[in-house]
Amino acid sequence: MDWHLIIAAAIKIVVFVFFVTLPLVAMSVWAERRVSAAIQDRVGPNRVGPFGLLQAVADGIKFLLKEDFTPAHVRKFYFWLAPALTMVPALLTCAVLPFGSRLFGEKMVIADLDVGPLYVFAIASLTVYGIVLAGWASNSKYPFLGGVRSTSQMISYEICMGLSIVPLVMIYGDLNLGRIVHEQAQNGWALLPLWGEGLSPKGFLLALPIFVSFVIFTTSMFAETNRLPFDLPECETELVAGYHTEYSSMKFALFFLGEYAAMIIGSGLCVTLFLGGWSLPFGWLAPATIDAEVPFWHGLIHLGAFFAKVIVFILFFIVVRWTLPRFRYDQLMRLGWVFFFEIALANVVLTAILLWVLK
């Protein structure tokens, strides 16, 4: 391991995690408030800075300055550990997302693992611990019930989520997110195979299972990130604020930010898998091979394309939140176990048959 690689990795980690993802988290909180306001014919926060853009900074300062209260009846160690355990895995998953093609001859991905989606699922499955612990360590009934509910929801939908990307992996024959994106740049995005090799009867037929996967994956992501219409862990009438009832100040903020970070990473993964990642439509400016040099400004455009897609996806998240009423808990479980699980399995079989027929 030479120093060049370590320094490059360190710079990428710092830039992508602290200068890209975290500000994006702050901005999505602002966007959530402005968009929800616009949907409800309101104005939303518009005082701090231009268009209220610095509202996130004000919120952060407010959270830091509030009293950090630890109730006497909690289990202190786990009570303090839980917020960190929700935030850290969400940020760890950044590691395998390809943010762009190449810049300065460096791949724009922190760790070019050959098990990309598996890594994301492995780390994302650790976020459950934060919620379990928060519920248990708070040592009071509402957080506990909220934690139990949230945990069972997340475990259930993790299965659907994992199964839903199997058809995609079967079609691309690869688990490396960088190569999957490169393939999509050449031959059409998974959902929109409109150019390259995708523009053929085979491409259109295979888009059918991919569409089913996309629906299941996106819906499961809503459930995984505990957002409406699946925000059952928090509900005022039944569970007060769910697992973070006893939390205040920055510890509460960590839960809050962890949720948004998970949303951003989820959007990033969905964009990478289904919507071509950093690639532009119709193969414009696509590098010829995976190892080809990319001109500097092409690399910049690819970065921009990725973030544009992620932002559109986050807006979709927000609009859905303010559109749909929530599910009842038994409906949620039925949807997960009875419908999505079976459909995902059938989808895998369908893809296998299609691949065998079209070989």
């Binding site: 306001a37 014919d41 609009v319 859905v320 749909l324």
Partner: protein, 176 residues
């Protein structure tokens, strides 16, 4: 009596849930775009935009004392408002009007008249009970201060808000 609610029978495409998602998104996005393009503007940006001109005449804002057209303070310190005030926001210290005063026949006037605006609930009972039409609820609503003492309106401040009211009570005038 139990009412049995007939659930609507859904078509197969309605049961898919996705169409209703798009119908819902059409509504929300419609509002979103309408707000962005300023077509539906409901909210007023308060400190910059105010609605003061449209306040109704019966608006109950800050209570204030008024003088009449001769510059006489109308309050005769009868203390009815002090007694009726539900949150006990009003404190009156009466004094006798010296006999050489022009309005000596009124006999009493408030030496100090204080309304604690932290306590005031803007109910308007003081205005209703006043036999001299001396206290009115005006249209001032932005009553702010940086300390508790600042929020207590003394007599001077109350006359400043109230101003002059003519007519209505003429019994103390020369030519009755």
């Amino acid at each position: 009596m139990a009412i049995i609610v007939q659930r609507p029978k859904l078509k197969w495409w309605e049961q898919l849930y996705l169409p209703s998602l798009f119908i819902g998104m059409k509504v929300t996005l419609g509002h979103f775009i309408a707000t962005l393009t300023r077509k539906s503007k409901v909210t007023m940006q308060y400190p910059e935009e105010k609605w003061d001109a449209n306040l109704p005449d019966h608006y109950r804002g800050a209570p204030a004392l008024v003088t009449d057209e001769h510059g006489r303070e109308r309050c005769v310190a009868c203390q009815l408002c002090e007694f009726i005030c539900p949150p006990r926001a009003i404190t009156i210290k009466p004094e006798e009007i010296p006999s050489d005063d022009k309005w000596a026949k009124v006999e009493k006037r408030p030496r100090a008249f204080e309304i604690d605006m932290i306590r005031c609930i803007y109910c308007g009972l003081c205005e209703e009970v006043c036999p001299e039409q001396a206290i009115y609820l005006r249209k001032d609503y932005a009553i702010t201060g940086t300390s508790r003492a600042e929020m207590v309106h003394d007599k001077e401040r109350l006359y400043e808000i109230g101003g002059v009211r003519t007519g209505l009570v003429n019994k103390w005038n020369e030519l009755k």
